[in-house]
Symmetry: C2
Subunit: 343 residues, 2 copies
DNA sequence: CTGAAAGCGCTTACAG
DNA sequence: CTGAAAGCGCTTACAG
């Protein structure tokens, strides 16, 4: 590797002091346009780049964001939810636009799971992403909060949860797609996926589902809608749907907590010789890129990942800059395809 | 945020010099076990973490790897190939194991696409990932090479291409799955996907396909197998398959350059009332997590992403540490499911 | 085994 | 508008 040029090299060549070089490169109004232009030209010529470590050390910041992605511990390398991949794309973009770099870690939560990113000055703040077990890491979130670490989280918004959260309106999404399913004439509903505090997002989807059913008189005031538990993977969806079919339960519509689950459900129903949507209607949640290509194409709820990524980054950068930032809910949009039985 | 403790704070509390603290924390044999233990205890108590910026500046390194992911420019945020997501998971893990951090950028190649990662000391080396247009960035690779930037690339191995490359044996994979398709009695083969120098990996898959056909006498010595161009997305696969069907061409087996293409092809054939594998057998390449859940389940070629991620990181870290490293080919494994017509 | 000191490459008050 | 100087928090030769 060539020796890297330093600001002193530029200063020498330009016949000015090193301080002036630094100022010129940072577009300080203190240096005359003429000098600045000369310095910039030389910098370009020497392929000079400001040394991040030195700059960061001096400024006591890192201009870097850390992204921590976690999933259910059962999922292996290959099972990361495509939904979060979309998010990742949008987050990298938004991060770059904000002038930050992005450090990524997919590690499962370990003891020092916030990975000391901020403590070591590797990152100015942390973005938390995943459909993990919320109860498991709630305490850790609390700890982050107490250390005044800058962080934002993608998830369900709940007053009692620590930190700033960006999330989509899971309740509304669950309710709207269920209303649609009801309008199609389906009567016997089952929800497949987690519906407890371990995954508050799924729980909200379930709550919307539940309330839509009540609203339509399909469920008594004190009843709770039928619910089969599953984690957010195709395999889990497959197995649970198989079990559901074998149980002989009466069902003509299934809402899944995620598209991944729905894909497993679709395959299981097909393997059981059950027609979708003829015998049973199926809907998912997330609108992953593959949803239009399932068989039949999957009706689902779209979360705006582009907006989400931008809001996440904005909120985090705002926090870092000391601005007041608030949690924010994004509208969820029902996407009708064929698996729900619509024509 | 609490004031962060520095090594001086620890030194003060421990009654030793700051140098000794630094040594103790780095497990230098120069400091007595007793002193070291005391220092470490205090460090833990104060929640002390070495400041990365200072440490890196001093050591002139960053202990960070940069991952650049690029895809066909037509693909939007949500279309990142799930195959690379698997890879990403494996790379983050391997990077962490090697004691490095991972900086991620999904940006399309811009003029300064190597993003000055190494120039600015943000990263010690770069990992390049993607099924992008090879011809477009070959020059940039050359430039990287000339600047002695440390980098490794996932892709096709070719003597004339710059840099160290880790890749799977695309030729063998393409050949083996085609042989399997042939053994099932299929005769009229079409390859869907890029098969030119823009994407050398796909070209190699095509070459394996082509040679398997010749080997079986399904193709004359001077003939080239039938090939319909497509980029690596479901939509492109869908559109091309539609066009193929409408062309009236005789075909009973399709090998797709990627699973994403295959998924689009499957949907297109279904929409055209063509049965898979009854009328036409279909196979993909990559074995993305969803391959078992397509309808019918997709026969494909698996690339060992776990191994790939590890080799990529090993090769890059080796380079950084000045060891000689070489390009490496990983075996590809045929995965039989139902779309190919096997029982 | 330990300490005093230099220095990594910047940014930024301070003085002019 | 510009320069000389301090200092960010470490690591590591040098001296003991």
């Amino acid at each position: 590797m060539k020796e890297k040029a330093t600001s002193f090299d530029i200063a020498h060549k330009a016949g000015v002091s090193q301080s002036t070089v630094s100022r010129a490169l940072r577009n300080s109004p203190l240096v005359s346009k003429e000098t600045r232009d000369k310095i910039k030209a030389i910098a370009r010529e020497l392929n000079y780049k400001v040394d991040k470590n030195a700059s960061n050390l001096r400024q006591q910041q890192s201009k870097t964001l850390a992204l921590l992605l976690f999933e259910d511990p059962t999922s292996d390398d290959s099972m990361i939810n495509p939904f979060f991949l979309s998010m990742l794309g949008s987050i990298t973009r938004a991060t770059a636009n904000a002038g930050f770099d992005l450090l990524v870690s997919f590690q499962q939560f370990s003891d020092d799971w916030h990975a000391d990113f901020e403590d070591t000055h590797k990152a100015d703040g942390i973005i938390l992403l995943g459909y993990g077990d919320f109860l498991e890491y709630q305490d850790k979130l609390q700890a982050l909060e107490e250390q005044n670490t800058h962080f934002v989280r993608w998830g369900a918004i709940n007053e009692s949860h620590p930190g700033v959260v960006i999330g989509s309106n899971n309740y509304q999404g669950g309710k709207n797609i269920t209303r649609h399913l009801i309008s199609l004439g389906h009567k016997e509903f089952v929800f497949i996926g987690g519906a407890d505090n371990n995954c508050p997002e799924f729980l909200e989807r379930f709550n919307g589902f539940n309330d839509a059913l009540k609203e339509a008189g399909l469920l008594g005031e004190n009843q709770r809608a039928k619910h089969w538990d599953a984690i957010s993977t195709e395999h889990s969806g497959y197995n649970v749907a198989k079990a559901l079919v074998e149980s002989g339960a009466k069902v003509d519509a299934i809402l899944c907590a995620s598209d991944l689950i729905a894909i497993g459900v679709l395959t299981a129903l097909k393997d059981s010789g059950i027609s979708v949507p003829g015998d049973i209607a199926v809907a998912g949640y997330d609108n992953i890129p593959l949803a239009p290509f399932t068989n039949p194409p999957l009706s689902t709820v779209k979360q705006n990942t582009k907006l989400a990524g931008e809001l996440l980054v904005d909120a985090l950068v705002g926090q870092i800059e000391g601005q007041p930032v608030e949690s924010h809910l994004i509208d969820a949009e029902v996407v009708i395809r064929h698996s729900c039985g619509a024509k």
